[in-house]
């Protein structure tokens, strides 16, 4: 009996050949490290250690090219997907080579520690981005009923407010009161809300309960108005959930890019120091 193991989407490689190449290169690097360590002992300053560090530095330099490629959109320089794959696997391999360069020892001195922490944080923030880019699109598509361009979401929410204002015209005092106390606040924003990160459909139940509560006190026309308002509020929540998740997809770079820049700068200083001293 064969047992089928489904790899979670976030861990599933998009391009198997890239993943295999990464595994093979990582394996070869580790085997060489262990062999060298056993035969001659490992030191970052040894030839093998310098090679590992040098290759890691070269890979990190190549990583920077991906950011440049994204600004050279017109140039026919292979596909964007290929560049991203090279960025992800190259960066991870570079981090491994840094660890090998250090001989898997805790770093000496403050600068060594900074360099080590930057290696780990940059790599982890990059891998966090990979996980987000693999999981968030599916969440947005499968759990939210609307699709919207991030920059247009405030405008779309403003449209909903206008529609709600039109809907409420000529309604009863009771519905107007409900509109002021519940609908208007619900249509404010859009705001980035942590609640949507926990549950993309967060807040629906409360809205439905609020509208359900007022419905029994309304007459025919106002009931229809309340239904329309409920639809507008629900749509706004969809848009806000989109806004929040798309915000995460964008803001994640604010974590990764500065760390990467500091890391590159630290590598330059490290190489210069090794060269000089």
């Amino acid at each position: 009996m064969s047992v089928r193991f489904d790899v979670p989407t976030a861990l599933r490689p998009k391009r198997r050949q890239w993943f295999l190449a990464f595994v093979v290169l990582s394996g070869v690097s580790l085997v060489l490290f262990v062999a060298t360590d056993l035969v001659a002992g490992w030191s970052p300053a040894s030839l093998a250690g310098m090679i590992a560090g040098g290759v890691a530095a070269a890979l990190m330099a190549l990583e920077v090219l991906y950011a440049m490629r994204r600004r050279l959109l017109v140039a026919p320089l292979k596909t964007g997907q290929r560049w991203l794959q090279a960025h992800v696997y190259g960066g991870t391999l570079a981090a491994l080579l840094v660890l090998i360069h250090m001989g898997f020892h805790w770093p000496h001195g403050t600068f060594g520690l900074v360099l080590f922490l930057l290696t780990i944080l940059t790599t982890l923030s990059g891998l966090l981005g990979v996980v987000l880019q693999k999981t968030v699109p599916t969440t947005l598509t499968s759990s939210i009923g609307v699709e919207a361009i991030y920059e247009r979401i405030p405008e779309l929410v403003a449209d909903l407010r206008t529609q709600a204002g039109e809907t409420i015209k000529g309604s009863s005092e009771m519905l107007q009161g409900f509109y002021g106390s519940h609908v208007q606040p619900a249509l404010a924003g859009p705001n980035v809300s942590f609640a949507y990160l926990m549950d993309v459909r967060s807040g629906r139940e409360r809205v439905l309960t609020d509208f359900g509560g007022i419905q029994s006190f309304l007459s025919g026309d106002d009931k229809a108005r309340a239904d329309q308002l409920q639809a507008l509020v629900t749509r706004k929540m969809d848009l806000e959930a989109h806004y929040t998740w798309q915000n995460v997809l964008r803001r994640w770079l604010l974590l990764h890019v500065p760390l990467a820049m500091l890391f590159i700068a630290a590598i330059v200083v490290h190489i210069a120091a090794v060269w000089r001293y």
Binding site: R70, L73, P76, W83, Q133, V136, S142
Partner: protein, 514 residues
């Protein structure tokens, strides 16, 4: 926005005669003998689409390569038909849409034409037919009063295969497609319809049959017999052409429009495939001598050639190779039918393509929203390639986790090419990319109004033609000329974006189910 093309010249077209008051216009229409049997009410209803036009000697009436929604009834004067040169004869290629007429096709230079294109394959592999009379001993012919021309192009949306010029001063009645269809349905005009059909049989049917793979090798005498017996039929959108289980008594050849092939399963019809120009149906029922195993339904206005059972048998008997091909087709279609019944999900995608009009698309952009991180690199790449203005919007309708954004589908029969007054919108023969030349466009928005999908967007532009700031229609041209294909597809870091032809339904189903 940077201009994409060099400007080119185009000979002027005659303006329509000044508008008449309704009573005078009706009286004018009454001077056409073929319209005289029509009632006052019918003529009034059709009048907006019946316009008398005058052309001075040398004016261009129709241009080779263009799509047209107008047939012309020649009332007075002589019209000259010039066949377009065959592409690859050492001169500029024929241009669908008329943006850059080859030098030999311009007035006064016909003597240099060395070869003519009377029919051939379009960009999508469908047939391009001439609706003009056979050329006697050369590449031009003359039409006299009483002739109708351009009707096939108008009805079946074929690109024109000829230039039509006013040989003398000319008066003709421009009949737009809705009026042409209505005229053909009038019982009082049965004789006129018969006359037009006969003309089609004489001029075009032979070439049409020869363009269908199946009939390409038939002997001339068989083709001649088919021409005599073929019946020409038109169907309105939604009408049933053949019901399932109807007796198999005819073979149908599609000369225009799209036909849905479906099989009844329970309370619903299950779509199996669709037919387009050049496709055929009916061979299963005729060869197996059984009722129709599926139904045919017109998805839009459909023009068909109907061959009787006897005519079909005649073909099969006279050409064993044809019979062999037909049997192969029978097997293929029955397998397709079986697959559809076994896997109704695939049929659902086909139905969606028919419902949404995507079946017209030769290169439809699809975005897998399960992969798309909404980074908009595709839109930025598009803008970078087109002088800062993107040619599509990452918005559109969604089907499952796929988005069909508002980007040109590069239709098989582009409605946007019909009626461009300056020939700014073109599709070079042998390509699928429809492009708009901003240096010729006068921003009349004819193309954007005609695009059924709203995929032609307007951007501010300082027009060198009208010398003012205009909202210029622009559209996706698939980055024509770019070595690595469309920039949007190439740049997507997640491989979420793809282009697909809806002619290739197995690929479509594979994509949607991936």
């Amino acid at each position: 926005m940077a201009p994409d093309h060099a400007p080119h010249e185009r000979s002027p077209r005659a303006a329509p005669a000044p508008p008449l008051d309704p009573a005078a216009a009706l009286a004018q229409l009454r001077t056409y003998p073929f319209l005289q049997p029509l009632s006052e009410g019918t003529l009034k209803r059709l009048q907006p689409n019946l316009i008398e036009q005058r052309y001075a000697k040398g004016d261009t009436i129709l241009r080779a390569g263009e799509y047209s929604d107008t047939a012309f009834y020649l009332k007075d004067g002589i019209v000259e038909v010039r066949m377009a040169p065959v592409a690859g004869e050492g001169r500029a290629p024929v241009v669908k849409g008329g943006g850059a007429p080859p030098p030999a096709a311009s007035p006064g230079s016909a003597a240099t034409i060395v070869a003519v294109q009377r029919s051939g394959l379009g960009a999508d592999g469908t047939v391009i037919l001439s609706d003009m009379p056979a050329v006697q001993g050369g590449n031009r012919t003359l039409l006299e009063p009483g002739e109708l021309f351009g009707e096939i192009n108008a009805l079946a949306r074929y690109a024109l295969s000829s230039d039509v010029l006013a040989h003398t001063d000319v008066v003709c009645l421009a009949i737009r497609t809705p009026a042409l269809r209505a005229l053909f349905k009038q019982p009082e005009l049965a004789a006129f319809k018969e006359q037009v059909d006969n003309r089609y049989r004489q001029r075009t049917l032979g070439a049409h049959l020869r363009q269908v793979d199946l009939f390409a090798g038939l002997p001339d005498q068989v083709i001649d017999r088919l021409r005599q017996t073929a019946e020409l039929l038109s169907f309105e959108p939604g009408s049933t052409i053949v019901a399932q289980d109807a007796p198999g008594d005819a073979f149908y050849l599609v000369r225009g429009g799209f036909v849905k092939v479906a099989v009844r399963t329970g309370a619903h019809d299950l779509s199996i495939t669709y037919l387009r120009k050049g496709d055929y149906a009916g061979e299963i029922a005729l060869l197996l001598d059984e009722p129709w195993p599926f139904s045919l339904e017109a998805l839009e206005y459909v023009e068909l050639v109907r061959l009787t059972r006897d005519a079909f048998r005649n073909i099969v008997q006279s050409a064993p190779a044809v019979e062999q091909k037909l049997w192969e087709e029978v097997v293929r279609r029955l397998k397709e039918r079986g697959r559809a019944v076994r896997n109704p999900l695939a049929s659902q995608y086909l139905q969606m393509a028919m419902d949404t009009g995507l079946i017209h698309g030769e290169s439809v952009m699809l975005i897998d929203m399960n992969l798309c991180t909404r980074c908009d690199d595709c839109v930025r790449a598009c803008a970078s390639t087109h002088g800062g203005t993107p040619r599509f919007i990452r918005e559109g309708h969604n089907y499952r986790h796929w988005m069909v954004p508002n980007a040109c589908y590069q239709c098989s029969d582009p409605a946007c090419l019909v009626g461009c007054p300056t020939g700014a919108i073109t599709r070079p023969l042998g390509t699928r990319e429809v492009t708009i030349n901003p240096n010729v466009c006068i921003a009349c928005h004819n193309c954007s109004r005609r695009c059924p999908w709203g995929n032609i967007i307007e951007v501010p532009f300082e027009s060198p033609v009208v010398k003012k700031h205009v909202d210029l229609p622009t559209k996706c041209d698939q980055c024509i000329g770019r070595s690595d294909g469309p920039a949007c597809v190439q740049i997507c870091p997640h491989g979420a974006l793809t282009r697909i032809s809806f002619k290739d339904m197995p690929q479509v189903v594979k994509t949607f189910t991936s």
